[in-house]
């Protein structure tokens, strides 16, 4: 039997089995869940080769499944993050109700994402896309809180995206008579201009919703923060990348083929830049860690969209590298928030403080991920940012590089807010009982943090497959031109050599660690955070002196003009307007027989009056 079928059969069977076992036995359910994630992942990496395809026809439709070089990059994110977050989920969700449902949805999401990567035709692509949307929607409303506000918002936006995509697919079919993605690509240059514009726009609405692109991002903050954190790691880390995956295919394979594509891409790049700035500023303003990370995800996806929009080889490398990195570090951060939520019961910065000595490993993982997020060398986030800036400067996007840089600098603010809010500050007796999260939660976080470190020093490890994927899309090979295993080059041949950087940092760090830090640490004694110089006053145990409310007030005051305009009220206004129209329409049906009789009479009278014009009598 074809290995590709087997993978999907395992996924489907596992989903059903976990759901059923969830009603019988907890341990069996957990084991089945993990097996359903790990076995297909192993099978995928060992048995499935790139370019291998399977064809079958379903009710007259020819379908084709197979993995390409380009899809393989995203498969790394989906399966890697899926398995690690799955291990984490088993520990994190322990003791919650309705777990069989959660696990089977989780598996369905992973399966749908793999299906999207496997689909070579638009029908199965759309079907898997819908499975993905549905399973993620069920996860968003899993907690049962604010279903009306958050769940419906996500659902409406997903539905709009799906309809747009469906329209594009149907149009394609009517124009080409085939459902294959490849035939769309080959036939595209022959379409007339309106179709050339319509199809990418419709598809981009569909993908833009998932990748939280600027006017379509409003669902993201609520949905990311409402889903269980174990799932949000996948939701933000991998699921949003499906939008990027589709977007890249649309922009590179379709839009680039027409002369006007250049402007189209500029618009996309600028939308990405605005998304990045807006997401960052709103992330700074948040007091809830989940919301903060949700907005930060929007901002990070903005950078990726910028890279995709700009579309030079270096920019594409940057975008795809950042996509992988974002999966790594944002997954870790969401997991860390989940661990804190599990141990303390809250994720609000104003409530929980000073966890560093209670949850040191979670802190370490968060610290490394935050360094990666902020783009500070020697961790991986820097590579993506570096390549993005170099490509922007090299391709004459001078204002865009400033916009992106502003967003990236402002990101330091929320990075610090995250670390300070949870781990630093005064230690409160209220949280004295908090312990480190269970090993099954900590180990995936640490593995992913180390992963972002390794990619920061040897970006070639992941740039290699990305390069292959880009060749698949028709880019010339960048082999040795822009990067080597641990080296980066820009368009002018200037380079950053990462290994000496690492060696220097390690050497200097070891020097200071051994001679200053370790010595001092032994010689000094620990005093509690209540022992501070507060004008000679001794804070009482219950007095919380932590500065956590209005954390970046002055900054937010300074950027107030930028944050005044929101897209959300517009949508709400639009929704209200539609509601009013519907309400008016509804009033016609009064339920009173005499009114209906009146309508009938008015209709008859109108017919009589206009009969000449209407029937030409």
């Amino acid at each position: 039997m074809e290995m590709i079928y087997l993978i999907f059969i395992i996924f489907l069977g596992g989903a059903v089995a976990t759901y059923l076992l969830g009603k019988i036995n907890g341990v069996l359910r957990d084991i089945t869940f993990l097996a359903t994630l790990i076995v297909p992942a192993v099978l995928f990496y060992t048995q499935v080769s790139i370019g291998q395809t399977v064809d079958f026809s379903m009710s007259g439709m020819n379908l084709q499944w197979g993995i390409t070089d380009f899809g393989y990059i995203f498969a790394y994110i989906v399966l890697g993050l899926g398995v690690l977050a799955g291990i984490y989920a088993v520990a994190a969700m322990k003791g919650k109700e309705n777990l069989g449902f959660f696990y089977s949805n989780y598996i369905l999401s992973i399966m749908a994402m793999m299906g999207i990567l496997f689909s070579r035709d638009l029908v199965s692509f759309f079907i898997f896309w819908e499975i993905m949307t549905w399973s993620s929607y069920l996860m968003v409303v899993f907690s049962g809180k604010d279903v009306q506000k958050v769940g419906i918002k996500y659902f409406i936006f997903s539905a709009v995206g799906a309809y747009a995509m469906l329209m594009a697919i149907v149009t394609t079919y009517s124009l080409t008579g085939s459902m294959m993605i490849d035939s769309l690509v080959t036939a595209y240059p022959g379409f007339d201009f309106s179709m050339q514009l319509l199809i990418p726009i419709l598809l981009l609405i569909g993908f833009g919703v998932k990748s939280a692109m600027m006017p379509l991002h409003v669902w993201a903050s609520g949905s990311y923060s409402h889903a269980p954190m174990a799932y949000t790691a996948v939701f933000s880390g991998a699921l949003s990348k499906m939008g990027i995956y589709g977007m890249i295919i649309v922009i590179v394979s379709l839009v680039s083929q027409i002369p006007e594509g250049h402007w189209f891409r500029e618009v996309i790049a600028w939308l990405g830049g605005i998304t990045a700035v807006g997401g960052t500023l709103w992330a700074v303003a948040q007091d809830d860690a989940k919301k903060l990370l949700a907005y930060s995800s929007v901002a990070q996806l903005g950078y990726i969209i910028v890279g995709v929009g700009v579309g030079t080889p270096l920019a594409m490398l940057a975008a795809l590298f950042m996509a992988v990195m974002h999966g790594l570090f944002k997954g870790t951060l969401f997991m860390a928030v989940g661990a804190i939520e599990k141990q303390t019961g809250t994720t609000n910065f104003t409530e929980v403080t000073g966890l560093i000595r209670k949850m040191p490993l979670t802190f370490l993982a968060s610290l490394m991920s935050i360094i990666a997020l902020a783009g500070i060398p020697p961790l991986g986030g820097f590579i993506g940012k570096w390549m993005l800036y170099e490509s922007l400067v090299g391709s004459d996007h001078y204002m865009l590089v400033i916009v992106v840089f502003f967003s990236s600098t402002a990101a330091f603010l929320y990075c610090y807010k995250f670390l300070f809010g949870f781990f630093l500050g005064q230690e409160e007796p209220e949280w004295a009982h908090v312990k480190e999260a269970p090993a099954m939660m900590v180990v995936p976080m640490i593995i992913m943090a180390i992963g972002s470190f390794i990619l920061g020093v040897f970006p070639g490890l992941i740039l290699n497959p990305i390069d292959a994927g880009l060749q698949e899309l028709g880019y010339a090979s960048t082999q040795g031109r822009y990067w080597e295993m641990s080296m980066l080059f820009n368009e002018w041949g200037d380079k950053v050599v990462l290994q000496p950087i690492l060696y220097t940092i390690i050497a200097v760090f070891v020097f200071f660690f051994v001679f200053v830090v370790a010595k001092n640490f032994k010689k000094t004694r620990y005093v509690s955070t209540k022992d501070i110089s507060s004008s000679g006053e001794i804070p009482k145990a219950h007095e919380n002196l932590t500065f956590s409310r209005g954390f970046f007030q002055p900054f937010l005051r300074a950027v107030e003009p930028l944050m005044k305009h929101q897209i959300d009220p517009l949508y709400t206004g639009f929704g209200r307007g539609m509601e009013a129209i519907f309400d008016f329409v509804r009033r016609i049906y009064t339920g009173n027989g005499q009114t209906y009789a009146l309508y009938a009479i008015i209709f008859a009278v109108l017919l009589l009056i206009f009969k000449n014009q209407l029937f030409g009598l």
Binding site: L367, A374, P377, F382, W386, Y389, E390, V393, D396, Y398, V401, I402, F405, F406, T409, F412, L413, C415, Y416, L419, F420, L424, E427, N490, W492, D494, K495, V496, V497, P500, I501, T504, V508, F509, F512, F513, V516, V517, N520, F521, K523, T524, R525, Y526, V527, S528, T529, K530, D531, I532, S533, S534, L545, F547, F551, F552, P554, F555, R557, A558
Partner: protein, 302 residues
């Protein structure tokens, strides 16, 4: 053998940066005093202060992050120093200046302050956290004109490496401060915030925040911060000299150039009171931003 030269050169660079930075700090104190119509401390006062701080007992810590904070700062300063070409042709200070570029440096410079901010955070003193948030906010302010100036240079010379910029200046024979004046103005205005003299000393603000991030750190912690601050000042000055004033062939010229450019924020600071945080941010988004945009236009046209 080459490795040995590199290591010895690195040590020499660090010592040079430390001595120069510290002396400049002392001279600034002297100049400030003279402007105030005082006599002021001797120029070597900072060395005495540092030595005294090192000799003080450090009896307490609030957790390992507090101790790591100053170490982070020091590591960042030293590593950044390694990537700055001190002299044009390397000379006694070969270092690693061919391995990095400007964008890399921009991000590396943040490494230390972030670690320092974490160290300050763990002390639990609310003043520290307030100081850190002010510092980060101000950084967002001045980075924008600063990056604009750098991007303008990158466009003009088609290179992002510092050595490349220095070579371009050597070939054309004019310094970048004359060949791209708007970028220089934007960078100098950004520099006012970078050095944190008045009116941008909102981070430390002794009378307001009890010296902010360092308020819980005395003794060896403060010594480490003070010396890494001095090294960092040298790094920034040398960077300015390298990319705007054509670098320096020998130490005397280097000292002359760095000192003259250092006087801009110092002299501006002595006669200024302190801004509030949002005023400081808005300052950088006013004229400096305007000059930054001019620099970009100038660079993309010529």
């Amino acid at each position: 053998m080459e490795l040995l030269t590199h290591i010895l050169g690195a040590i020499a660079t660090v010592i040079l940066a430390f001595v120069v930075g510290m002396s400049y700090g002392g001279i600034v104190r002297k100049i400030t005093a003279r402007v105030h119509n005082r006599i002021g401390p001797p120029w070597y006062q900072n060395f005495i202060d540092a030595f005294k701080l090192y000799g003080k007992t450090t009896a307490i810590h609030h957790g390992w992050m507090q101790i790591m904070g100053p170490a982070f700062l020091m590591v960042s300063s030293v590593v950044t120093l390694m990537f700055i070409p001190v002299l044009t042709n390397g000379g006694w200070f070969p270092n690693l200046n061919f391995e990095g570029d400007l964008i890399f440096l921009l991000y590396l410079m943040v490494f230390g302050p972030l670690g320092m901010a974490l160290g300050a955070g763990q002390t639990g003193n609310p003043n520290s956290a307030i100081g850190v948030t002010r510092g980060l906010s101000q950084m967002v302010g001045f980075e924008i004109p600063w990056v604009m100036a750098l991007v303008a240079l990158m466009i003009q010379f088609d290179t992002t490496s510092i050595t490349g910029l220095m070579e371009a200046q050597a070939q054309s024979g004019t310094w970048n401060m004359f060949s791209s004046p708007f970028a220089f103005i934007a960078a100098v205005l950004a520099m006012l915030g970078m050095f944190r003299y008045s009116p941008f000393d909102i981070v430390g603000a002794p009378t307001e925040l009890a010296s902010g991030p360092v308020s819980e750190n005395g003794g060896k912690y403060l010594f480490t911060m003070m010396s890494s601050g001095s090294i960092f000042a040298f790094v920034k000055l040398t960077l300015y000299v390298d990319i705007f004033m054509g670098g320096a062939d020998n130490l005397v010229i280097l000292l002359l150039k760095t000192f003259s450019i250092y006087m801009i924020p110092v002299l501006y600071g002595i006669v200024s009171p302190r801004y509030r945080t949002e005023q400081a941010i808005r300052f950088f988004w006013g004229w400096p931003l305007f000059f930054g945009v001019l620099a970009l236009i100038y660079a993309s046209i010529f």
